[in-house]
C-alpha cells in the first residue's frame, strides 16, 4: 500500500492586518498604522491518505478545512510542517477558476489541463471524453463568457475528472449542477474508487461522507479532533457541534438533555419486513424543554434511507427521564442491517440539542425476492 498524501505536523498562521493601507501614499503617511494579529488556521495536523482510499475531511465553516486543502494542493505554503503528495493530483477547488472568459471552451480545456499539469498530448487523448461528459458538444467552440454557470462548472468538472489523476481532491463541488449531473458526478467518483485511486472529499455534509468515505478526518478550530472510521468520526463531529451549540447559545446551555437509551418491548431489534414496530427512547432532561424529535435511518454503506420531519414532531420534555414512543406502522425495508440515529432539536428544527448516533441497529429479515433497500411491490401487467 502506497501513501498518496502525507500531511506531517502542518501548521498555518495568517497575519491579519487591521486597517493597513495598501497604497504607497497611505503607507508613507502612516507608516505604523494598523495592527497585525496572528491567527492560527491550522495547528499540528497530521494524517495520511493511502492509495485507493477515500477519506472525508469534515468540519464546519472556519474549522480550517479549506486552508488545509489549499496547502495540500500547493496553493498555500504551511508555516511549519510538510506535505508530501505522490503522483498527480487534481483538485476540484472552485471549478473553473482557471478559465479565461475570452477563450472558447476548447481552448480553455487545454489551458485548464495544462494548469493541472497535463500535457497537450494527454488532453488530446481524453478531449472527446471531456466534451461528452460535460454535455456541451455544440458550444465547445463558443467563448466561455457566453456559457451559463451550469455549463461552466460542468466543463471544469469534466476536465478535472477525465485527466485521471492519481488523487482527486473534491471540495464542496458536488452541490453544483442539477440533480442528474450530480448523480453523474457521484458515479464518476465511485468509478474512481473502483479503479483504486485516492480521493479526499472535503465537505460539511455528513451524508455525503457516509455515502462515499471509509475514513473521515474531523477538524475543529484548526485542530484535528478525529481520524478514524467514518461512523466513529462523524459521531465525534456531531458531538462537537453539540458542545459548540451549548457554549454559543444560552437557551441550550440551560437545557442539559441526553438520549439515554433506545429499547423495544421485545428487547431485540430484529424486525420482519412489512410488519409494524415500536420502540421507546429515553431522554433525560434537567429542565423543561419544548422541541422536536428526529429519527434517521441509514444503511450500513451510509446511505440515508429516511429522516423524519424535524419541524413537525413536537415533544415537551419535563425535568427528569422522559419516554418517547416511536411507532412505524409498516416497515417497507428489505433485508439488511440499518443504523438508527435519534435526537432532539429545538422548536425551529435548526439546532441539535441532543443526539445519539447509531443508537440502535435494526436487523430486517425479508422473505420475498425483491432486492435493494425499499419494497415497492411493483406488479406487472400486460395488455
Amino acid at each position: 500500500m502506497t501513501t498518496t498524501i502525507e500531511v506531517d505536523n502542518v501548521s498555518k498562521e495568517f497575519k491579519l492586518h487591521h486597517g493597513r493601507h495598501q497604497s504607497l501614499k497611505e503607507r508613507i503617511l502612516h507608516p505604523g498604522a494598523g495592527t497585525v494579529e496572528k491567527f492560527s488556521a491550522l495547528e499540528n495536523v497530521s494524517f495520511s491518505v493511502q492509495e485507493g482510499e477515500t477519506v472525508g475531511l469534515v468540519g464546519h465553516n472556519g474549522s480550517g478545512k479549506s486552508t488545509l486543502l489549499k496547502t495540500i494542493c500547493g496553493v498555500l505554503q504551511p508555516t511549519s510542517g510538510q506535505i508530501r503528495v505522490r503522483g498527480s493530483l487534481a483538485a476540484l477547488l472552485e471549478l473553473g477558476a482557471g478559465f479565461q472568459p475570452e477563450l472558447t471552451g476548447r481552448e480553455n480545456v487545454y489551458l485548464y489541463g495544462s494548469m493541472l499539469g497535463f500535457s497537450r498530448k494527454m488532453v488530446d487523448v481524453i478531449f472527446d471524453d471531456i466534451v461528452a461528459f460535460s454535455e456541451i458538444e455544440q458550444f465547445i467552440d463558443t467563448q466561455v463568457k457566453f456559457y451559463s454557470s451550469g455549463m461552466y462548472v460542468r466543463l471544469a468538472f469534466a476536465v478535472a475528472v477525465n485527466v485521471n489523476p492519481d488523487t482527486l481532491v473534491v471540495d464542496e463541488v458536488l452541490a453544483v449542477g442539477d440533480e442528474r449531473f450530480q448523480a453523474k458526478c457521484i458515479d464518476r467518483i465511485r468509478r474512481f474508487q473502483e479503479e483504486g485511486r485516492s480521493i479526499l472529499l472535503v465537505t460539511h455534509n455528513a451524508d455525503q461522507v457516509r455515502q462515499l468515505c471509509q475514513r473521515a478526518v474531523v477538524l475543529d478550530g484548526g485542530k484535528m479532533i478525529a481520524d478514524g472510521p467514518t461512523q466513529e468520526s462523524l459521531r465525534i463531529f456531531r458531538e462537537h457541534l453539540l458542545e459548540d451549540a451549548a457554549t454559543h447559545e444560552t437557551i441550550e446551555s440551560s437545557a442539559n438533555i441526553q438520549v439515554t437509551s433506545v429499547t423495544t418491548p421485545s428487547g431485540t431489534f430484529d424486525v420482519r419486513s412489512g410488519s409494524g414496530m415500536h420502540f421507546d427512547v429515553s431522554v433525560a432532561s434537567e429542565t423543561a424543554f419544548s422541541g422536536n424529535f428526529v429519527i434517521e435511518l441509514f444503511t450500513r454503506s451510509g446511505l440515508l434511507v429516511s429522516r423524519s420531519d424535524a419541524q413537525a414532531s413536537p415533544v415537551n420534555l419535563r425535568p427528569g427521564v422522559n419516554t418517547i414512543g416511536v411507532d412505524v406502522a409498516q416497515l417497507p425495508l428489505l433485508a439488511g442491517i440499518y443504523d438508527l440515529n435519534v435526537g432532539v432539536v429545538d422548536s425551529r428544527g435548526s439546532t441539535v440539542v441532543a443526539w445519539s448516533e447509531k443508537a440502535a441497529s435494526l436487523e430486517v429479515t425479508y422473505d420475498g425476492r425483491e432486492s435493494g433497500i425499499v419494497e415497492i411491490g411493483a406488479t406487472i401487467h400486460q395488455d
Partner: protein, 311 residues
C-alpha cells in the same frame, strides 16, 4: 490491491511516481526545477495571452506589427522631420533600437499587474506563480519575433547589409534581453501585490527609462561628450538595456560615422568601438542577467509566501 483489470493495466505503479513536497519555503533550485517542469503551461499561457489580446479585433495579430510601425512613424515624424536629428536612414536607426525597447516595455508593463489581476487563479490553482509574468514576457518575445521579421524585410527592401561579423552577438544579446526583461517582470508582478501603486509608478518609470536609452537619439552624437564632461558616463551605462540597444544598432544600422544629408557635417551615430568591446560587453551582460534572474526568482519566492492573504 483490488483494482479492476481495465484500469490497472493502463496505470503505472504509483509507488514509482514522483513526490511533490509542500513546505514553508522552497529552495531556489527546487523553484527553478518546478519552473522548468511546467514549461508547457508557460507555452499555453503565452498562447492564450496572445489570443485574448487580439480576440474580437478585425486586424488580429497584424496589430503586433502595425502598432510598433505607427509608433515608429510618430518618432520618425517628430525627431527625423520636425526636429531634424540629422541621422541618415533615421527610420532604420529607430527600428533597430525600438524592437529591443518594445519587448522590454510591453512585457514589463503587462506583467506588473498580472498577479493582482488574476488573483482568482492564484488563490485557487497551484502552479509556479511567476509563470503568469513570464507568459507576458513570452508574448512580448512573439511580438519581438514578428517585428524582427519586418525589420528583415525592410533591410532587404533597402538593400542594406547588416554587420555580418557582429551577427553572432545577436543571440547572446537576445538571451540577456530576455533574462533582464523576465527578471524585472517577475519582480514587479510580485511587488505590486504588496504595493498596488507600482502599476502606475512603473508606467512613469518606464517612460523615464526610455529616454535614458539611446533609441530615438544617438548616444555618441548627442550624449557622450556631455556625460563625459559631467562624469555621468558610468551612471548612464548602469542601464543594461542601453548595452543591448547599442549592440542591435551596431548589427542592423552598422554606420558609425556618417555625413548628415542636411548640414553636411560629420556625425558619430554609433560609438566607434571595435568588435572586441562589443564581445566583452555582451559576455559581461549575459553574466549579469543570469545573476539578476536568480536574484529575482529568489526574491519572488519570498514575496510569494503571503500572496494568499494580500490578494
Amino acid at each position: 490491491m483490488n483494482q479492476p483489470a481495465s484500469a490497472s493495466s493502463e496505470r503505472r505503479s504509483l509507488a514509482d511516481a514522483p513526490i511533490r513536497v509542500v513546505s514553508h519555503r522552497a529552495s531556489l533550485l527546487t523553484r527553478l526545477k518546478n519552473l522548468w517542469g511546467r514549461r508547457e503551461l508557460l507555452v499555453s499561457l503565452t498562447a492564450s495571452d496572445i489570443k485574448i489580446k487580439y480576440k474580437n479585433s478585425t486586424l488580429g495579430f497584424f496589430w503586433s506589427m502595425l502598432s510598433p510601425a505607427l509608433t515608429l512613424g510618430i518618432y520618425f515624424m517628430v525627431f527625423g522631420v520636425v526636429l531634424k536629428s540629422g541621422i541618415p536612414n533615421f527610420a532604420l536607426y529607430l527600428f533597430s533600437g525600438l524592437v529591443v525597447w518594445n519587448l522590454f516595455q510591453t512585457s514589463v508593463n503587462t506583467a506588473t499587474g498580472v498577479i493582482v489581476d488574476r488573483a482568482g487563479l492564484v488563490k485557487k490553482v497551484s502552479f509556479p506563480r511567476e509563470i503568469l509574468a513570464l507568459s507576458n514576457v513570452g508574448a512580448g518575445v512573439v511580438y519581438f519575433c514578428s517585428q524582427m521579421l519586418v525589420l528583415t524585410v525592410v533591410l532587404l527592401a533597402m538593400r542594406h547589409q547588416p554587420a555580418w561579423g557582429f551577427m553572432w552577438l545577436l543571440p547572446l544579446s537576445f538571451v540577456s534581453l530576455y533574462l533582464i526583461t523576465a527578471s524585472v517582470a517577475v519582480l514587479m508582478s510580485g511587488i505590486t501585490v504588496y504595493m498596488r501603486d507600482m502599476k502606475h509608478l512603473m508606467e512613469v518609470a518606464l517612460m523615464l527609462w526610455f529616454w535614458l536609452t539611446p533609441v530615438v537619439y544617438s548616444y555618441s552624437n548627442s550624449m557622450a561628450a556631455q556625460l563625459k564632461s559631467h562624469g555621468l558616463l558610468a551612471i548612464y551605462f548602469f542601464n543594461p538595456i542601453t548595452w543591448i540597444v547599442l549592440t542591435f544598432q551596431r548589427i542592423f544600422y552598422v554606420t558609425q560615422v556618417a555625413v548628415s544629408p542636411k548640414t553636411t557635417t560629420m556625425i558619430h551615430v554609433l560609438p566607434n568601438w571595435p568588435l572586441s568591446t562589443y564581445v566583452e560587453m555582451n559576455v559581461a551582460l549575459l553574466g549579469f542577467s543570469i545573476i539578476l534572474f536568480f536574484v529575482a526568482e529568489s526574491l519572488f519566492g519570498r514575496l510569494e509566501v503571503n500572496f494568499e492573504s494580500e490578494l
